[in-house]
Symmetry: C2
Subunit: 203 residues, 2 copies
Amino acid sequence: MSESTERDARHKARMQRKKALIDEKIAQAQDEYGLLLVHSGNGKGKSSSAFGMVARALGHGLKVGVVQFIKGAASTGEETFFRRFPEEVSYHVMGEGFTWETQDRQRDIAKAQEAWAVARRLLNDESVGLVVLDELNIALKHGYLELDAVLADIEARPMLQHVVVTGRGALPGMIEAADTVTEMSLVKHAFKSGVKAQKGIEF
Amino acid sequence: MSESTERDARHKARMQRKKALIDEKIAQAQDEYGLLLVHSGNGKGKSSSAFGMVARALGHGLKVGVVQFIKGAASTGEETFFRRFPEEVSYHVMGEGFTWETQDRQRDIAKAQEAWAVARRLLNDESVGLVVLDELNIALKHGYLELDAVLADIEARPMLQHVVVTGRGALPGMIEAADTVTEMSLVKHAFKSGVKAQKGIEF
């Protein structure tokens, strides 16, 4: 056998084993209900990934609710874009600036609680298929909101509704409650080598 | 000082240090050019995060090109959604099924090369502000495309154009060439506890 034919044969055998494994996994999965997904870690992509899921959900005809717990944390680009579809996306930017910009803890707490009231309304709405709670982990980590109360509201949501929670430093209780947890880690960042934050990419 | 006032004061001091650090970082960043971002790792969110960046870029008025190197790897949801904006998004789904579905190496190579021809056209187009090369890492890892040729085309793109490359198993040369590399790691997955892939979330 030539080297190339041998490689093709090995490849085929490997792919057949992989296909069998994946088919089995899919067959085993049976229940259908709304998932709680958590995106945490120090890397990029926690919020972007949630907004990618918004696009996906819209493509599947679902209605979406977004609550940004920290204004300015996410790009204004997503907001500008998704506000084009007010019938499909209910978009709420709460809070004011990063906490290290405002430096007023009592005000941050009040803002976080206002934001949670909006989130709770979405979590009670059966017509909403996906709720994005952007940077909620930050509000929880700083103690602006109580984890138990937040989890109780999330648990009580409509059965088929999906929820995505983003923000670094997810609390252990949030990870415990989640169906899927993804950790975004920074391997390498242009910022560190002196490149300015880019419109359309970094903010 | 009461416990609460003390906590607020500590919080304020910490936030002031943090703000100083971040302001300094932003001041140091000077150059402005298109970035090469790589999303790799075994976790979820590699492609979703790229599609979130598409939404962000559209919100900033950029034009976007998307090439999916493996049909079926990403959700059909994003495709359905972003095809609503043919003036703004040039969307191409290449390849046919997962390699472990087709099990034909020569055909996969031919498909990957067709896909690269489309990618190269976008990488030559100054009017395109962001190019997403979804699952390109997979095509490279399997040797369907040559890394050196791919990197040469990426390097030769218009100066302000951003590129996002997704897929697990990014080759060392791709990581070396990138400005930002994010590793998505799986912490916990509903799939493992027997939950079916969900429309609007998992596919």
